[in-house]
Symmetry: C2
Subunit: 207 residues, 2 copies
């Protein structure tokens, strides 16, 4: 199909498609004349994925490139799907908050028995986000963080159970699933807050 059809099919403006082509996120079409190129369903699928990562996942172009690189070419030497996926998700390092000493957070994570190590980018992300809460006047002590961690462990159990067998597709599923489920979890959280507070208020409920 021509670029105009690709745009119509995917609902992505032509200018945006050209930008993704220039940035190398979308592979070039098959040249069909001096001025036109031909695109196939693979291009449409890739385009929809990029849009989902950018719009729903809130990723920047650099993060999208990293995610696509991991999905396109999972390192066959690395059998650990999850750490491959996590590298793609955290490669940019913490943004938005100043760097902070990771030591107390490291100690807290280690005390939980969660695996971590020096230079762990996820730990840095947690440290920055935790510090940003404090900076915004939201005090979260270690006990409360522990309660959150217990709850999130349940979420992670559902995540891990959904990982399919077979390395290539597993990486794809973990990376995209982790990103795309974030807004779903955010909406569930708001709905669940409402449910919990209605129940606490002692109104009759269905259980």
């Amino acid at each position: 199909m021509r670029i105009s059809e690709l745009s119509a099919t995917t609902d992505v403006p032509i200018g945006t498609i050209k930008y993704y082509l220039r940035e190398g996120l979308l592979p070039a079409g098959r040249r069909s004349s001096r001025t036109t190129a031909d695109y196939d369903d693979g291009h449409a699928e890739r385009l929809r994925l990029i849009r989902a990562l950018v719009q729903t996942g809130g990723l920047g172009i650099a993060a999208v490139r990293r995610v696509l690189a991991v999905i396109d070419d999972p390192d066959p030497q690395r059998l650990d799907v999850l750490s491959t996926a996590q590298d793609a998700l955290t490669g940019g390092g913490g943004e938005g908050a100043e760097a902070r000493p990771v030591d107390p957070v490291h100690a807290w994570v280690a005390a939980r028995g969660w695996p971590t190590g020096p230079g762990d980018p996820v730990l840095e992300q947690l440290g920055n986000a935790w510090a940003a809460c404090e900076a915004a006047g939201i005090h979260v002590d270690e006990a409360m963080m522990g309660d959150y961690a217990d709850a999130v462990e349940q979420v992670a159990r559902v995540d891990v159970a959904a990982v399919p067998q077979g390395a290539g597709d597993a990486v794809r599923r973990v990376v995209i699933g982790t990103i795309m489920m974030e807004p779903v979890l955010s909406a569930l959280r708001l709905l669940a807050q409402r449910h919990v507070s209605v129940r606490q208020a002692g109104k009759p409920d269905d259980d």
Copy 2:
């Protein structure tokens, strides 16, 4: 303090401070001469909050304005802190994915016994995010969504338990806490995925 000091104290560039002043997010300083104005600690605190909402929370200017309006002036007629907070958090409606029929999602939420109603913006957000997963090739069936919802209900219990008494501060805590905890929960999720998958792989762990 002068605007240059305010900038130095908060690590926010002067141009950005002027932008927030023009947009009305930050109240004007007390005019101290024809060309200078004086800012106090309240300005610095407000500025840090705006930066946290924008950078860590990923909010746009319109959403920040909505959140600040609710925090500054919680409607005294509305005793329901949570729904006030949720209105501020969802006022923009779903962005990034096309509008989708809310009916199946409504049925699913109603079947769980979670409170909802027609035109519920949180439900729309859930519907859009769920549809975006499917569009990105991540199939999430109702059973799996139920497992996620069970886990997130745990998170919401911790959220609700942290709501302080007293309407004004409660709104502030719920709105800012909900936004600022999102990146914390995301990082915990990655750490917990690792923990769960290590345990599943049968490696020895500390419990």
